[in-house]
Symmetry: C2
Subunit: 232 residues, 2 copies
Amino acid sequence: MSTTLTVDTALPETLDSSSSVYELIRDDIISGRLGANERLKVADLAERHGTSTNPVREALQQLRGEGFVVMTPNRGARVRAMDEDFIRDIYEIEVLIEPALTRWFVRIVTDADIAVLEGMQAEMERLNYADPVRHGELDTLFHHYMYDRHYNRHAVDLWWKHREILKAMSRRHPTSLARRVAVLREHRQLLDDIKAQDADKAAATIGRHVEGSGRHIIEQMGAARRNSARLR
Amino acid sequence: MSTTLTVDTALPETLDSSSSVYELIRDDIISGRLGANERLKVADLAERHGTSTNPVREALQQLRGEGFVVMTPNRGARVRAMDEDFIRDIYEIEVLIEPALTRWFVRIVTDADIAVLEGMQAEMERLNYADPVRHGELDTLFHHYMYDRHYNRHAVDLWWKHREILKAMSRRHPTSLARRVAVLREHRQLLDDIKAQDADKAAATIGRHVEGSGRHIIEQMGAARRNSARLR
DNA sequence: CTTGCAAAGATTGTACATTATCTGCGGTGG
DNA sequence: CCACCGCAGATAATGTACAATCTTTGCAAG
């Protein structure tokens, strides 16, 4: 048998069945159902989610703290615009953080870890680009597995928060086949670097990988924007 | 005349005269008046700040979003512990971000900018280590001036948020004379690198600078902790 | 000493009052 | 006649009071 390891590593589920108001609004924002700079009225949201105003107000405050919502005194809340600039900002930070996290992973990796990652990689390759959604899940899972045990929880949390935004973005702007091919190639390269215990090379590889993904999403966003402008 | 430029660049003031409940609680947390893991009861805080419970609840939610407060359902809010590990996490991220911000600054710097930075440096040197508080202010101002115009607002906001925490920490654990000497030397080195238009060298210098400051604060925190443990 | 239950205490949700901002209309001056 | 100012009504955010629900705590019984 080849490396046909079944991956059961669960990602931390952000929205359970009985989602809170906070999670619902947050999802509406990052999924784009609530457009950029859209006004968020507490009364509307309260009615929309079948609750009173207080839970909504608290949810908005939390979202403000996380940067998803912008509030001005006595003038209410608006959705933080998730435009190309914002995504570029996020990716530029990830290009700095992910190599550092990867560098550490190379130092503590075990044979068992490599087997797990190989398993994910094998499943992605077995998909043969047929299921983009599963492809994206496995991509996230691959990175998550490497970073999850890192001692710098603040950095990992930051990575995860960024990743959730980017996941939502790539759901709206699907990943091209060419990009998915590149992802596989880069993960394979990364695995080789890890097995060779070459932390510097692995860091450089993941840097290019993140940079490539970022560039791709931004290109997709730009294309979509120009297209919608043409139709207007 | 020598470089006796008066620095009037204002830092964004975080707490104005009529501070909101949010700012008051936030200050109590990062200044240490509210200890690590301390329970935050809405009724207490409301009475303490002469308001009703709702503003307090919303402030706590915002602080939760920013990571200063940890909340568990039906069990209320607690202060996020700002221990040595947390500070180390922050510094490790800054070691990644600040060099990137600096690299960009080197590319866009003008003669006027250099004059301003020289002015700050001159004032720090003129202080001759007499006024630690002003020294810290100028240190922050120096970095702030370099990063303020950067296009990546997300990165700059992150830097600033981290900086505010670190400022509060170094207020509790004063900066040693040796460290202040090192800061001056490193800033001077950085100015030289900038003037030489050597972005790589400037990035490396600021990396060492941030790393050194981080190490110093953590050492101070450890010393204080061991000292208080001895007295107990 | 452990277990269970009841009362106290705290969080979460609802209803309402207050205060500020936005909107549309009419009047006034150029 | 048109532009601008100001004022009232509407609309929405902010603050207060209170009810409902969950957790904790202390005491008594087994």
